[in-house]
């Protein structure tokens, strides 16, 4: 056992990369849930984003265009969910699960000719001499653009939800859709837009896996990250900054268990591998004193004339 083998700076810097797909997917879902809609199709939207982004980046040679395409792909798929739940008033839990099934299958069909292809790489942002600041530089200023976009997105979502009229409307719709409707807000339209935003974010998160984190295309490559993103939203009790914290905790625990293994700590691996989930449950118990965080209309079906 040799704990000194773990380099704390690189260890912490690794959190950012591991957490980014989670952050995108979860922050998108957070907005969706704020409007009272529960979309369990995150995994499906992520993997569609992963292939749309991958294919576009390979064809155009531009990773950034790839990310844009991923956002579009995720949003388009989410429209299917929006149609089902907002227009056809279908159950959201079942529709979300169906969306995941559909997304996993459809992405595999789209990606048939991209197996074994290497995508163009997105360069890290060049901070010049700033990046040489000890500790801070290698931890914070050593990443690609999308990592910073993810952080910015969290701040933006927080600010919009808290300080703007849009945020107020979103929350109003999520808390009591009938009252919001009575006030003249177009509940269905607002929710549909939120769902598309969630889809776009999930798409970008998925593309981060296929274009940067891994990077390659294989079927089913999101391997459950979408589900963890869903868990994160609840874990964060719908608060953007807590979500950020949760994403690092989650990404960090996986890193930690791999690091401990590398350092030769003799703990049964399967128990280390389950630790992130167990710890999440424990943290959750402590956080659950915070009542009333959930949007009151979450998962309920809205119909104007009812």
């Amino acid at each position: 056992m040799d704990l000194s083998a773990i380099n704390p700076i690189l260890f912490i810097a690794g959190f950012f990369v591991a957490a980014t797909p989670l952050i995108f997917a979860a922050v998108g879902e957070l907005v969706v849930e704020k409007t009272g809609v529960l979309n369990l199709g995150v995994e499906g939207m992520m993997i569609i984003g992963a292939i749309c982004g991958f294919a576009t980046a390979v064809e155009t040679g531009s990773p950034l265009l790839g990310f844009a395409a991923a956002a579009v792909g995720g949003a388009v798929l989410s429209l299917l969910f929006a149609f089902l739940t907002q227009v056809m008033l279908a159950n959201q839990v079942a529709s979300g699960l169906a969306l995941t099934l559909f997304g996993l299958g459809f992405s595999a069909l789209l990606g048939q000719s991209y197996v074994g292809v290497k995508p163009p790489r997105l360069a890290d942002v060049d901070f010049g001499s700033l990046a040489e600041i000890p500790i801070f530089g290698p931890i914070i200023l050593s990443h690609d653009l999308i990592v910073y976009l993810g952080l910015a997105l969290v701040v933006a979502v927080w600010a919009v939800l808290k300080y703007t009229r849009i945020g107020l409307v979103l929350r109003a719709v999520g808390e009591n859709h009938d009252a919001a409707h009575a006030l003249g807000y177009k509940v269905v339209r607002i929710r549909t837009l939120a769902i598309m935003f969630g889809g776009a974010c999930a798409g970008v998160g998925g593309a981060y896996i296929s274009l940067i984190r891994v990077p390659q295309w294989t079927e089913g490559m999101t391997a459950g990250i979408g589900w963890i993103a869903l868990a994160l939203v609840v874990f964060a009790s719908w608060k953007p900054f807590r979500l950020l914290l949760g994403a690092y905790l989650f990404g960090g625990l996986v890193q930690l268990q791999l690091n401990l293994q590398g350092a030769g700590v003799a703990i049964p691996v399967e128990y280390l591998a389950m630790s992130p989930y167990v710890i999440t449950i424990v943290v959750l118990v402590f956080l659950s004193r915070d009542k009333g965080a959930a949007p009151a209309s979450l998962g309920r079906i809205f119909h104007a004339s009812s």
Binding site: A18, G111, V214, E219, A223
Partner: protein, 363 residues
């Protein structure tokens, strides 16, 4: 009354079963029909992808005289049993079941269809109409280990394992033995991912190993995630796994182990066509072409490359065995006396590290 009725129904059912199970096997046409059962999607870029390449090679080799069918992403257990039965009912003459977990289902189905031949990959149960086949990937690991020992400057080699099963442990031992031979100071850092398939986790594992000082990464998982992590780090050497991964050549990927099932599949189909098929236990390595060694790139110094190729040649012609004594187990007890080589039974069930590897196999 009830009792007799049920009994009658039971009798009827079993009679119908026996009759219709036996029938399709006789209904042979000129085309040889071959079924493949895959555990993953053909687009996994690794294990299943390579088996499917073998299937395509069969089609190409035999042209119109064969018909191949496959079902992908078949869960081990009852689903696989159903899929195999269905293929047999539909008149398959030969069925390849390409995952260890298909072992008992293959045996079960084979018992019901004595006229259909089965080939089960990586298992140990056989029957009159069930053969087993597997590849001596550890021979390829020996070559990787040799190159790894020579290429590492930090004397730390990282190894990403999937699950601690004999197949993986054998590979680690083989790589380690030969890394030590080429560099007595080398140490292995082993990280278990505890998943067959999670590219993001593989990327994490590779990064962790690199951060902890490994400058050579060996992987027993199939995604290119470790390759990309190494490329980003800049000075880390990797080897392709399952497929060539030549998109990362010449550096970081300096060589690779390629699963090449095509020669075996073609030979077995030919045997069925000729009527010479018998139940066998095949464990082929570099010599028979089942384990391919991807081109060793110019990033490897010429003399190391020459040594590696010599090692490959000696493994291929059988003049050298990758597990040749004197070798001790991790606890210091004797594993192989000087000059002795490990028998296949020991290798198949290998569940210990050889001397020198630090850490324990997770239990």
């Amino acid at each position: 009354m009830k009792f007799t009725k049920r009994q009658a129904a039971k009798l009827l059912a079993s009679a119908a079963f026996a009759a219709s199970f036996a029938a399709p096997a006789f209904a042979q046409d000129d085309k040889t029909k071959i079924g493949f059962v895959y555990v993953g999607p053909v687009g996994d870029g690794g294990w299943t992808y390579e088996h499917n390449k073998g299937r395509l090679a069969v089609e190409e080799h035999f042209g119109d005289s064969v018909e191949t069918v496959f079902v992908e992403s078949v869960a081990e257990g009852p689903d696989s049993e159903r899929v195999m039965t269905q293929m047999a009912l539909d008149g398959a003459d030969l069925i390849f079941t390409t995952s260890f977990g298909y072992m008992d289902p293959t045996i079960n189905v084979a018992a019901k269809f004595p006229n259909v031949k089965f080939e089960h990959a990586t298992g140990y149960k056989r029957a009159d109409n069930v053969s087993t086949y597997s590849a001596r990937f550890y021979e390829g690991r020996a070559i990787q280990g040799h190159i790894a020992g020579k290429m590492t400057k930090s004397n730390t080699v990282g190894y990403i394992g999937s699950y601690p099963i004999p197949e993986v442990i054998r590979g680690i031992n083989s790589a380690f033995i030969h890394a030590r031979k080429s560099n007595p100071d080398v140490q292995f850092k082993i990280v278990w991912a505890y998943t067959w398939f999670d590219p993001a986790k593989e990327a994490d594992a590779a990064k962790v190993l690199i951060e902890q000082g490994a400058d050579v990464i060996l992987q027993h998982t199939d995604s290119t995630a470790p390759q990309a992590a190494a490329q980003e780090a800049g000075n880390v050497v990797t080897f392709g796994q399952a497929s060539d991964m030549s998109q990362y050549a010449p550096f970081p990927r300096v060589s690779s182990i390629i699963d090449d099932w095509a020669p075996y599949y073609i030979a077995r189909v030919q045997a069925v066509k000729d009527g010479t098929w018998t139940s066998t236990d095949t464990w082929d390595g570099i010599g028979a072409g089942m384990v391919g060694i991807g081109e060793i790139s110019d990033a490897v110094p010429a003399e190391v490359k020459a040594e590696a190729l010599a090692l490959k040649a000696s493994l291929a012609d059988g003049s050298y065995h990758a597990f040749t004594g004197p070798l001790n187990k991790q606890d210091g007890s004797e594993f192989l006396a000087a000059g002795a080589t490990a028998d296949d039974g020991t290798l198949a069930g290998m569940n210990f590290y050889v001397e020198g590897i630090e850490g324990e196999i997770p239990q």
